[in-house]
């Protein structure tokens, strides 16, 4: 019981949008497709919906073990929500939601009272019950996207496909709506795949996250797995701020400048050039040098506006710059000042061989 794509390749002219992608979404699961623009995530979504077709070959799209690869979109029963909602502007909210039921062939079309009941139930589900007689132009962006979701759910889709559903909304509404989406999903458990380029959104909402890059899925796993064990520097970079330190791998440890650090994981040959990636909150600041495992640096700037204190530093040996996040409490104790010299200890180093391209 799942939605699955196998060996999907799609070329637009000489551009390879998808390069032999396979992905399985378990029944009732909420999966995020995360990636920068042009990574192929929307194309994959549209292929699953049947709005785009994969290049012929061994490509397969399976809905609950039914092969739908050659089925047109109108017969797949995949609910689709668009970034700009695509509501029918000449119909009321009620009629928008009822559309999927009304276009059914006569023998499969529910009776008018049944349609009415189902639409009202869906409007209740998306908390828009009183707005059924409004037109889309009379709704806010967040309300419109909820109508679009109700409309997609009306046809009892086998899978719900959301293409950057909150991409056109402002930050505050985005946050509210993605939590609402999570609660809705916990309530109705419809198998869902949603596309986003916002890593925060993906990590917060999804059961599993698939990160795409240049037409391939680079890593797939739970948000925690992805955050704790990123498979590549690309993913590290994409998931948020990260500092780079050039160094060498030596007997399982990383040598950076004159200091040695324990690596959390490493990829690449021993005794070769390597890059260590360290998140800003995994760097400790001290005033005294603590043995072999600290680097000397000078503070460039301190920014205390926000939930954490951001400190920008410059290494004394090679003048490379990096950023550190301190808790407000620790910052009060240490009281860092711009211009002073401190020592930094790196923790949780993720080391990749130097030739690993980003």
């Amino acid at each position: 019981m799942s939605v699955e794509v196998r060996n999907i390749t799609k070329r637009f002219g000489s551009f390879v949008a998808l390069d032999n992608v396979s992905l399985r979404i378990n029944s009732g699961e909420l999966v995020a497709l995360l990636g920068p623009s042009g990574s192929g995530k929307t194309t994959l979504l549209r292929i699953i919906a049947g709005l785009e077709f994969p290049d012929p070959g061994s490509a397969q799209v399976l809905f609950y073990d039914d092969d739908v690869t050659h089925l047109p979109a109108s017969q797949r029963k995949a609910g689709f929500a668009f970034q700009h909602y695509a509501l029918f502007r000449h119909m009321t909210v009620f009629e928008n939601v009822a559309f999927g039921l009304r276009v059914r062939p006569r023998d499969k079309r529910p009776a008018e009272t049944e349609i009415r009941n189902r639409v009202e139930k869906l409007l209740r589900l998306v908390q828009l019950e009183p707005l059924g007689r409004r037109f889309p132009s009379q709704l806010s962006g967040g309300q419109r996207q909820r109508v679009a979701l109700a409309r997609a759910l009306a046809v009892e889709p086998k899978v719900l496909l959301l293409d950057e559903p909150f991409g056109a909304l402002d930050a505050q509404v985005r946050k509210e709506l993605r939590r609402w989406l999570r609660r809705l999903h916990d309530e109705i458990h419809v198998t869902t795949l949603f596309v986003t380029h916002d890593q925060e959104e993906a990590l917060e909402v999804a059961d599993r996250v698939a990160i795409m890059r240049e037409g391939r899925i680079e890593q797939i796993g739970t948000p925690e797995e992805i955050y704790e064990h990123p498979a590549s520097p690309f993913i590290l970079n994409f998931l948020g701020n990260v500092n780079l330190f050039q160094g060498r791998i030596h007997e399982g440890r990383v040598v950076i400048g004159g200091a040695e650090f324990q690596a959390t994981n490493h990829v690449g040959a021993p005794n070769s050039g390597a890059v260590a990636y360290v998140r800003p909150h995994d760097i400790r600041l001290t005033r005294e040098q603590t043995g072999q495992s600290s680097l000397a640096a000078r503070i460039l700037r301190v920014n205390a506006a926000g939930p954490v204190v951001q400190v920008e530093l410059e290494r004394l040996d090679d003048r490379s710059q990096f950023g550190v996040q301190l808790s407000r409490e620790f910052s009060r104790q240490l009281n860092p000042q711009a211009g002073e010299q401190v020592f930094v200890e790196l923790q949780n180093l993720r080391v990749f061989a130097d030739d690993y391209s980003i």
């Binding site: 109108s74 276009v103 046809v155």
Partner: protein
């Protein structure tokens, strides 16, 4: 809503708005524009009606009882009744293809749609003479099979279709391109077939643009002179449309009748203008709420 309040304040403090010109510039430009309109639009329009009623109401209506006039009006209506629906279908099909799909030769098709606007109507008529005339490419074959196109109703209809082809398509292409395909995709994923998608989603989305295109197309179909004049042959009671009939009456110094029939065309223009304004107002009302 701080905008209006601020501009009112600045007016009160006599600060000049960046886009406000001095009063004398505003007045001069407005007067020039109004004078121009009066001279080139209102005066001729008034002249048409004055001339038509110069000898009173009775001769005016007598002009419409003339069998040739009735036949000309009938022919004009018939021509429009054939040309406008055909161009509606062609226009929607062409706009649909251009706006929703990518195919080789698309830009060529767009250029071809504009061709009737670019070519002088007389040339358009001459093309038909070259094709269907006695010395034309298809002339002998048509004569052998006893099919009359030139100097007959089919030629007039063909020329009218050609000249009025761009109106609907040109109106719809930018509209459909701006709307994109998402609405149609949404309908399809909801289980609608192509036919349902067109009637329930695409057509309602373009209805005002389509209506606008159709009334312009109709106005031109009824008023077309050049191309029709070349292919018609000016046979009274048979191949004279209203504009051709007016020309004949005028050349025979039958001014009252000429202007009477002309007033009918002028009325058509006024109705078209009124409809056009109403559509634009209606369109702005539905779209203004959306923004």
């Amino acid at each position: 809503m701080a905008g209006p309040a601020i501009s009112r304040l600045t007016h009160r403090s006599h600060a000049r708005h960046a886009t406000h010109d001095p009063a004398w510039v505003q007045w001069t430009l407005t007067t020039v524009a109004l004078l121009f309109l009066a001279l080139f639009l209102f005066v001729p329009l008034a002249a048409v009606f004055t001339e038509a009623f110069r000898r009173g109401v009775e001769p005016y209506f007598a002009a419409f009882r003339n069998p040739d006039a009735i036949s000309a009006i009938q022919l004009t209506l018939t021509t429009a009744a054939i040309a406008v629906p055909l161009n509606l279908v062609f226009g929607v099909a062409a706009a649909w293809a251009i706006a929703k799909f990518n195919f080789p030769g698309k830009s060529l098709l767009i250029t071809l749609i504009d061709l009737p606007f670019a070519v002088s109507p007389v040339i358009s008529g001459l093309i038909y003479v070259l094709m269907f005339g006695a010395q034309g490419w298809l002339g002998p074959w048509l004569a052998d099979h006893d099919i009359k196109i030139l100097f007959a109703v089919p030629g007039i209809v063909l020329a009218t279709i050609f000249v009025t082809f761009p109106f609907v398509a040109r109106e719809l292409i930018p509209l459909m391109q701006a709307q994109g395909n998402d609405d149609e995709y949404a309908a399809i994923t909801l289980g609608a077939n192509a036919w349902q998608t067109f009637w329930r989603v695409t057509l309602p989305n373009i209805k005002w643009g389509l209506f606008y295109g159709v009334i312009l197309c109709n106005a031109r179909a009824m008023g077309e002179f050049g191309a029709v004049s070349v292919v018609s042959g000016h046979i009274r009671g048979l191949t004279n449309t209203m504009p051709l009939h007016i020309e004949i009456l005028y050349n025979e110094y039958n001014f009252v009748a000429a202007f009477a029939v002309a007033s009918l065309l002028a009325l058509l223009a006024l109705v078209t203008l009124a409809l056009k304004t109403w559509i634009e107002w209606k369109h702005a009302a539905t779209h203004g709420a959306e923004a």
